[in-house]
Amino acid sequence: MELLNKVNEKLKINFADSIVSAELLYDYPVFTIKSEVINDVLKSLKEDEELNFHFLTDLCGMQTADEKKLGVIYHLHNMPKNYRIRLKTFVDINKPDVATATNLWPAANWMERETYDFFGVKFKGHPNLKRILNVDEMDIFPMRKEYPLEDQTRTDKNDSMFGR
């Protein structure tokens, strides 16, 4: 709880109107930030002397339940003091632009490519935003809820009997 308050105070100094929510979920302080300032927020959290989130644990994407927004989720870690927080930011699905975090952590490079590959989130300023796990010719973003899991071009399976 005190980490939540500490980070909240620090963020309010510069970004008071960009914090959409701050809550404690299962021992993790979780902040939802507006997508326009997410890079500045990450930079301030990384360079702050007391908080110093120097390690990017994870960067992933998600789609909200109403299927209208895409989210990018950052997990940050401060190893010497063992602080862990989560930051979320949401963008509209028709214009999913987020600033890249590769200028702060080189580790974000492939993680952002994976998020682009799965959800279609375009990271502005990314050096090499191409598909990484799927075939290069794929034109859909498979993790979005609208696309099915199975390959639709199969001819040898009859789903009418045992449905999916």
Binding site: L133, N134, V135, L149, E150, D151, Q152
Partner: protein, 187 residues
Amino acid sequence: MAKEIIKRTKLEIAKSPEGLEGPGFFATKLEDVVGLARKNSLWPLPFATSCCGIEFMATMASHYDLGRFGSERLSFSPRQADMLMVMGTIAKKMGPILRQVYEQMAEPRWVLSVGACASSGGIFDTYSVLQGIDKIIPVDVYVPGCPPRPEQILEGVLKIQEMCQNESFRRRESEEYKNMLNSYGIE
């Protein structure tokens, strides 16, 4: 005078093929001899992609030695290999590469599909996994399992050896074989 021979292990020497034996000669069919030689010297190409590859490493190691059956020398170059062992999931991205490797192998060649993923896509009924390598290359023996035990992989190899021994010389030139290859689009 001669020392008594004590057999400490139950080794079975490879049986010689049926034939006519005489003083200093042994007459048999050429196909039998060639089959015997081929089956006991299959050089595998381990195309190990995922978890089944680790079971293959266990098969190659000393406990379940694959070298006993003549496959001591693994060949990673398709041009020097007889048997293509596809072990693990083949994704759609990997399909063209598997096809290229198969086309580079010289006749006679056999394909062993190890594991559920290679045989039919396994538990991964997804958009990115090829549902069985027999969609792109002809397969001789399928070894089911996820992953199959090394004993099962060895049985797969033994079945290929059986096919190898009983294969006629003309099979690879026959119309039926050529039609089968054409159905896959392989010349």
